[in-house]
Structures are given as C-alpha cells and as structure tokens.
C-alpha cells in the first residue's frame, strides 16, 4: 500500500438502479471509495452483489443513476454533468485497459494483430508499449502469428491482457479474468496481474469470486447487496476471514 500516492479514482455515493420489467433493482447502492495510484483492489462478494456493475461504473463503461465519479480529480459523472459518448470514449481510452471473462479476441486476426488492434483507433503518444515486448513478457512470443482458435484459454486471456496493456493504461480493470480458466491457468493470470502491480506500479481493479485470485490483491473490498461491507482490519485479516491466502511469488520477473 502506498498511502502517499495520489488518488486516481474517487467515487462518492455511486448508485445504479436498473429497471427490470416492472421491478426496480438497485445494483449499486451509494458506494463511496477512493483508489490510489498503484493500488491493487479486488472486489469480492456473492453473485448479484453488484460487483460487476460497480466496476463498470468505476471504469466509465456505465453511467451511474446518481453519485459522483472523478478520475484524477476531474469529475466525469455527477454534479448533473451530462457527458457525451465521444468524450467518455476519450476518457476511457486514456485511462483504462479492460480485461473480461470472455476474451473477445477477433477470430480472423492473428495474435499480434489482435494486440495491436487498439492502435487502429488510438495511440497514446509517447507512452505506448512495444507490442512484441508485451507479448514476450506474457510468454506469447512464439504465438504471434497464430490465430485465437489455435490458442489455449490461458493463452487467449494473456493475449487479451497484452491488448489491454499496449496503450499503457493508468488503471487496469479486470472483470472475472479467470472465470473461464482452470485453477493452474488462473494462478498464472493472477501472477501476471500481481507482477503488473508490484513491478510496474500499475493500478488494478479486479472483480472475482475466486478467493485465490482475491488473495493477490493488496486490498479486498467486499460487496453485499450493492453496498460495501465495512473494511474491517487489514487485507490480510480479511483474507484470512475469507480464507484467502496471498500466494508466494512464483518467479521474480522484471516487467515492462
């Protein structure tokens, strides 16, 4: 934890209400939270607790019904501000790299083409990554000319991670990144995320229901019925309570 690092993301009373049929569902109910640069936050909680909705709000993929969201001190949502999709896209691509449960690789493109696809739309001038270097770091250097169909699930998720990294995002958002992977592959992905955080100082927000995955995070936030459970005690204590063990590092590695 780096208490002195600046706040990159701040939510205040964030609320999201869905209308499902005639029913009003409050998926996220007045969540306030601060994320500092270099933090690794895991959101845990039972199904339907609103963790995916929350991370979508934090990642500017969804508009909150009420509440405020600020990125680097600049208010994105709230204060009655109405933000256009174009401006939102601009904010998203400057700030976030997204990793999803399903990898959503373009099946007709090779690994290297998939990874460089974000450049077709946006290049973060001066700070983009060398895609080959990213792929080498993720152990995919021999796969660059393969198509997604020729890869294993773990490899596909690593390609998706590489794709999220090439524009050097400040914050990585990972929504159940190991949901489709077995435990060995999950550990691998967890290790990568931890390396990205510890060695590279990247801020990571992770949604998972896998206690092992949550264990790699510095800070675990529990959600119940759309509300944050009180952050009692240190993350270690909480992990212990949730029977989460922070695994020892497998192999030290120099990252990006």
């Amino acid at each position: 934890m780096k208490p002195r690092s600046p706040i990159v993301l701040e939510a205040r009373d964030l609320t999201k209400v869905y209308t499902r049929g005639s029913e009003q569902v409050t998926a996220v109910d007045g969540v306030s939270l601060q994320v500092r640069q270099g933090e690794f936050l895991a959101f845990v909680g039972p199904s339907g607790s609103g963790k995916t909705t929350l991370i979508n709000l934090l990642g500017c993929l969804d508009n909150p019904t009420s509440g405020t969201l600020a990125l680097g001190g600049r208010i994105v949502f709230g204060d009655g501000k109405n933000i256009s999709e174009t401006r939102l896209t601009r904010i998203r691509r400057q700030t976030f790299g997204y990793i999803f449960q399903k990898f959503y690789l373009v099946p007709t493109l090779t690994v290297i083409e998939n990874v460089t696809l974000p450049f077709a739309f946006y290049r973060k001038e001066g700070s983009m990554r060398d895609p080959l270097e990213v792929l080498r770091f993720l152990g995919l250097e021999k796969r660059i000319n393969h198509r997604p169909g020729e890869l294993s699930g773990g490899e596909m998720q690593r390609v998706a991670i590489a794709r999220a990294l090439v524009n050097n995002p400040e914050i990585i958002l990972a929504d159940e990144p190991t949901g489709n992977l077995d435990s060995a592959r999950s550990r691998e992905i967890g290790q990568i995320l931890r390396d990205l955080n510890e060695e590279d100082g990247r801020t990571i927000l992770l949604v998972t229901h896998n206690p092992d995955m949550a264990g790699v995070a510095q800070r675990v936030v529990e959600l119940r019925d759309g509300r944050l459970a009180p952050e009692a005690g240190s993350p270690k204590a909480k992990a212990r309570r949730m029977r989460i063990r922070r695994p020892s590092r497998l192999k030290p590695k120099r990252i990006l």
């Binding site: 199904s47 339907g48 963790k51 995916t52 979508n56 993929l61 969804d62 999709e85 174009t86 896209t89 998203r92 691509r93 976030f96 997204y98 999803f100 449960q101 399903k102 959503y104 373009v106 099946p107 007709t108 493109l109 083409e113 460089t116 696809l117 974000p118 450049f119 077709a120 739309f121 946006y122 794709r163 524009n167 929504d175 159940e176």
Partner: protein
C-alpha cells in the same frame, strides 16, 4: 500494424459463403446495369451508323406510302408510286442541298426464286452520283458501271450469294426477259444494300418502261444547314413525300424506348434486391459481432471508427461485386447482344452493346454509391453499440 480497413476486409472472410453470395448478387445487378447502359449507347450509335450508311439524310419519294421498300416487299412492286425526273432539278435549287441522287425501284415476280417464287427487286441508280454518295461501299469483285444506259448490274453481297453470281455472269430479269451483265459484287456492308441489285438508272427506266420517272431522290444535306427548314421547303414540291431519316430514327428510337424502360425497371429492381441483400448481410454480421464491436469501443474506437469500419466492409463487397459484374458484362456482351436481338423487333447491324471506360466508371460509381447507401444503416447501428453491451452479455 493493423488498420481498420484490414479488420473490415478480414471480417468478410469470416463467413465466406455469405460474403460470396452477396458479391454474386451485386455482380449480377452490376452486369445488368452495365449491359443496359452499354445497350443504350450501342443501340443508338448502331442505328446512327446504319442511317449514315444510307448516304443520304432525306429521301424525297412520290406521294403515297413513304416506306417504299416495305411496299415493295408487301405488294411486289405494284404499289410503287412514281414522280417525274424533273423534280431533281427543283430539289437542287435549294442551297441546303449538297448532293442528290435519283433512284428508281422496280420489282418483278420471279417464279424460280425460293420454293414458291418471290419478288426480285432492282434499284436503278445514277452512276454519276450514287457511288459518290455511298463512298463507303466496297467491292468484293469488279467495279461500278459507268454508262447509265448499259445493261449491267452491281449486286450486293447477300443478293450475289442468293443468285450465285460472279463478275462476268449474266442475270436475267424475269417477265422482261432482259439479260444484265454482272460487273461488280459488293462486300458485306451490313446495310440493306447487301440485298440489292443495282442497275444503271436509264437502263432500268427503259426496261420497265418508266422513262423520266423516279421512285425516290436521295438528298445529302449540307452539314451546316437547317434540316427541318429544308424538309418544310421540300414539301412545297408537287406530289412528293419527304422522308427524313432523322424522323425514321426517332420513330425507331421511340419504339425501342418502351423496351428500354422495361429493361431499366428490371435492372432497377435487380439493384434494389442486391441492395437489400447487402444491407441484410452487413446487418447480420453487425448483430453477430455486437460484443466484439463493444470491445472495440472499450479499446477506444470512436463511433465514427466503427461506422467507417462497417462502411468499408459494405464498400468492399460492392466493389468486388461491381468489378465482377462489369467483367461479366464485358465478357458476355456477345451473348447479351444475341439475346437482345431475339427480343427486339428491329435491331441495327452494328454491335448493340458498347461498354467503354466511361460507362465502366459510371457503373462502378453507381455500385459504390449503392454500397455507401446500403451501408449507412448497419454502420450507424454498429456505431451506436455501447461497450457495456459486450460485457453485460456475460451475466454475473
């Protein structure tokens, strides 16, 4: 590094059969379009060529049925009307007239022709003026006659084949029992001259006892002159009918225009169907890729990027189809030509389908415009996909 154009192109390879079928649909409509445009152009120019090949633009005929040739075929010459040869002098007085040539058409029943006999037609022409006016006529054998009294004949290509005559042979006019000496055989010209037997005017007048009489006078009008004004003036001559070939052309064109409108509507429908096909194909692929498009947007794609990508896909399909269709149009123009000849009552002799660079460009432009228009809705639809849609589909 990958561009959205490559992404678009590779997307089309994903469902190869579907893309191919759409391309074929566009190709067929492009084929129809380019053939039709080629036909519009070709028919008119072939007709113009036919008319130019007559050597004169205005025909003054004796009052009665203006279509003397038709009368001849139907009534075996009995319906022919005659006018005095002196009319030639009257016509020449007009300053608009560049050249004139007097003609006498005569016909007899030939019992030996075909199975039940048939009509043999002869055209008496003036050796001094007629060859000059029809300078494009080429000889296969021999030459024009020079003496207007000579009992000689020049035979058109098809007539010579039918009569099986060569230069030096004799040709008998049935009923009159007069023998003509064949002095020339024309090469194929693709005009009605191919089926004509030309005889010196004075000789034919004598044989048919029509001294000083004519059935028609061909007039070549000065290029700078006002043709309509001349036609009006010619009507002042007694007992004549003025047949302007411009009018004939107009009549034929208006007959054909009905057919053209029909074909054009068919082409339009074909294009509409192809368009609907394109919209359907692209829309399907947009719906199938909703999540993927959402991910592209989470990657930083602006609505206009997605719009352009889908639009490019549509245009690629249309360009491929258009190119293929034009290729078909060019490659199969002979076949289309044959087909049209079977469908239309009257067709000129030249090539009916004329596809040139300008037409090709025009068709490509039309197809691209169609592509751009049919791509609008799917592209707009895709550009409005929100990144969340791709994630929400996962559920929790």
């Amino acid at each position: 590094m990958i561009s959205i154009y490559q992404v678009a192109y590779k997307n089309l390879l994903r469902k190869k059969t579907r893309s191919a079928l759409t391309v074929i649909g566009i190709a067929l409509s492009a084929w129809v379009l380019v053939s039709l445009l080629g036909f519009n152009r070709g028919y008119e120019s072939a007709l113009n060529k036919d008319i130019d090949n007559m050597g004169f633009q205005v025909l003054v005929a004796a009052k009665g049925c203006p279509y003397e040739a038709a009368t001849l075929m139907l009534k075996g010459g009995t319906g022919l009307r005659y006018m005095k040869q002196s009319v030639v002098g009257e016509i020449l007085k007009h300053p608009e007239v560049e050249k004139v040539t007097p003609m006498l058409m005569a016909a007899v029943f030939d019992p030996n022709k075909g199975e039940e006999g048939g009509i043999s037609g002869y055209l008496g022409v003036d050796p001094a003026t007629f060859p000059a006016m029809k300078s494009f006529l080429k000889f296969k054998q021999g030459r024009w006659f020079t003496d207007t009294e000579a009992r000689e004949a020049v035979i058109g290509y098809e007539a010579a084949e039918l009569e099986q005559r060569e230069v030096g042979d004799t040709l008998l006019i049935p009923e009159k029992n007069v023998e003509l000496k064949v002095v020339g055989i024309l090469s194929r010209s693709g005009t009605q001259d191919d089926g004509t037997i030309f005889v010196p005017l004075a000789a034919l007048q004598k044989i048919f006892d029509k001294k000083g009489e004519l059935t028609g006078v061909g007039i070549k009008v000065d290029k700078r002159a006002n043709m309509a004004a001349l036609e009006q003036k010619l009507y002042d001559l007694p007992d004549v009918q003025v047949v302007s070939l411009a009018q004939v052309k107009q009549t034929i064109m208006s007959l054909v225009s009905t057919a053209k409108v029909m074909v054009l509507s068919i082409a339009l429908i074909a294009i509409l169907i192809a368009m609907v096909g394109v919209v359907n194909t692209i829309l399907m692929s947009v719906y199938e890729r909703f999540q993927e498009i959402g991910i592209l947007k989470s990657m930083g794609a602006m609505p206009r990027d997605v719009f352009r990508m889908i639009w490019v896909e549509t245009v690629i399909l249309c360009l491929l189809g258009g190119g293929l269709g034009i290729g078909l149009g060019l490659g199969m123009s002979k076949l289309t030509d044959l087909l049209i000849r079977r469908l239309l009552p009257y067709t000129p002799t030249g090539s009916l389908i004329q596809i040139n660079g300008r037409l090709t460009l025009l068709t490509v432009a039309a197809i691209v415009v169609i592509g751009l228009v049919s791509g609008l809705y799917p592209a707009w639809r895709a550009s409005r996909v929100r990144p969340l849609e791709s994630i929400r589909a996962e559920g929790e």
